[in-house]
């Protein structure tokens, strides 16, 4: 069996040309593996051969992608590659851009298996994670061997046509390559085909892009609970009677801060709900079922918490795009800081 041909992309540093002082060198190629390509070759095994290594200065590829990327494509095409690997680039910014850009371009234009690995905060990750496979690596290039091995295992599965699951399961950033859908086949047939493929354990690709959510370290209280000011945030659409800000019941455009100053509990006559995603009757009858101000005030009176923030934050979390929610969250966090809040109860319907 002919060996699978691999083309590997690296920067001037890993090619041994030099560091920052050489970051503006142009594009060049060498036959065979270079630098980390040696590990890559070992890990891919005897059925694979790194036929070419593409080398480019980090400044060059970051500054002139329009010039460099088409040349990379031509080289990969000319080598009749079965697999393209870039990096890994860890947390190196311009190198990460190069790794992401070349991997995305090869994925989309040549439609051959292509993969790289970057740290989550590498600028190349966010730019290209929804256009190609970018495996999650840490930010420490000392782990080169482990990450190259991870790339090799994944790359071989791509070449072999193994079923690749979502990013969270597989350990890649974002949603991976854009999903191709053949709309000439009716959705019902595509759905059944997918189900059968799944049943028979054959490869299939979902048409639903799975957002791959990054993990955030768990914040902890920096003082005793009994000294903390607690706020309530809700996506259950609670608004003051008459909905003065015209909060929409779906696809929210904003959140609002509502004063509850002087209220021991939320009274049904003062509030209503603007949210079309659940039956609001129980909350309308007693808003504390959604925003438990009555119980929180009891907790403050008992000394379990320090105090209750004198305002709540509310929006309707129905069909609201992720990006919008992110914006709401950022805005609310800034206002909570102004309020001097220490911790939050968020209620979601």
């Amino acid at each position: 069996m002919a060996k699978k041909k691999v083309v590997h992309y690296i920067n001037q540093f890993y090619a041994g040309i030099g560091g920052e002082s050489e970051a503006s060198v142009g594009l060049s190629t060498m036959d065979g593996p270079v630098g980390p390509g040696l590990f890559l070759g070992e890990n891919l095994g005897d059925d694979y051969e790194i036929v070419k290594t593409i080398i480019c200065g980090d400044n060059t590829i970051a500054e002139q992608p329009d010039l460099i990327i088409p040349q990379v494509i031509d080289i990969v095409k000319g080598a009749e590659a079965d697999l393209f690997v870039a990096g890994p680039g860890f947390n190196a910014g311009r190198y990460g851009l190069g790794c992401g850009n070349t991997t995305a371009a090869v994925t989309e234009e040549l439609e051959i298996p292509a993969v790289t690995a970057l740290y989550s905060e590498n600028p190349g990750t966010d730019l290209y994670k929804n256009r190609c496979y970018i495996l999650q690596s840490d930010n420490n290039a000392k782990n080169m061997k482990a990450v190259v091995k991870q790339i090799a295992v994944f790359a071989k599965r791509l070449v072999e046509g193994d079923n690749i699951a979502d990013g969270k399961t597989e350990g890649y950033h974002g949603s991976g390559p854009a999903i191709k859908i053949d709309y000439s086949i009716p959705a019902a047939k595509r759905g059944i085909d997918m189900l059968l493929a799944k049943y028979y354990k054959k490869p299939f690709y979902t048409e639903v892009m799975m957002p791959n959510h990054e993990e955030i370290p768990i914040p902890t209280l920096d003082k005793p609970l009994s000294e903390c000011k607690i706020a309530v945030v809700t996506d259950g659409g609670l608004v003051p009677k008459g909905n003065p800000d015209n909060q929409v019941p779906t696809n929210s455009k904003f959140y609002k801060r509502y004063s509850i100053s002087g209220m021991d509990a939320l009274k049904a006559e003062d509030w209503e709900v603007s949210h079309q995603g659940y039956n609001n009757a129980f909350v309308l009858a007693d808003p504390n079922r959604l925003v438990p101000i009555d119980a929180l005030n009891k907790m403050a009176a008992k000394g379990i918490i320090g105090s209750v923030n004198d305002a709540i934050y509310s929006t309707a979390g129905v069909m609201t795009p992720m990006e919008k929610c992110k914006e709401f969250g950022e805005g609310i966090a800034a206002e909570l800081r102004n309020d001097g809040v220490d911790a939050v109860i968020e209620t979601s319907t």
Partner: protein
């Protein structure tokens, strides 16, 4: 996502919801299961006074979840 951005800003947040899997999937890291989608902190089946004390217990539980310290590598604290 709202919870997540508030967490990112450094505030401990306990998310109280019935859709705990969704909250966990998105990355909320302190999650308490609510009574129902329709009344997270309530139970209309109870007489008013009992519902009040039920709510106080659940709120107290949520508050104490804010105090929990995650173990190394732990990504979420969940009480069903």
């Amino acid at each position: 996502m709202i919870t997540k951005e508030i967490q990112r800003a450094g505030f401990p947040v306990v998310q109280v919801t019935n859709l705990t899997k969704i909250a966990e999937g998105i990355g909320a890291n302190r999650i308490l299961k609510g009574n129902s989608v329709l009344h997270v902190f309530g139970d209309p089946a109870l007489p008013a006074a009992s519902e009040q004390s039920y709510r106080e217990k659940r709120v107290e539980k949520a508050l104490h979840m804010l105090e929990l310290m995650p173990e190394d590598g732990q990504r979420a604290l969940i009480e069903e």
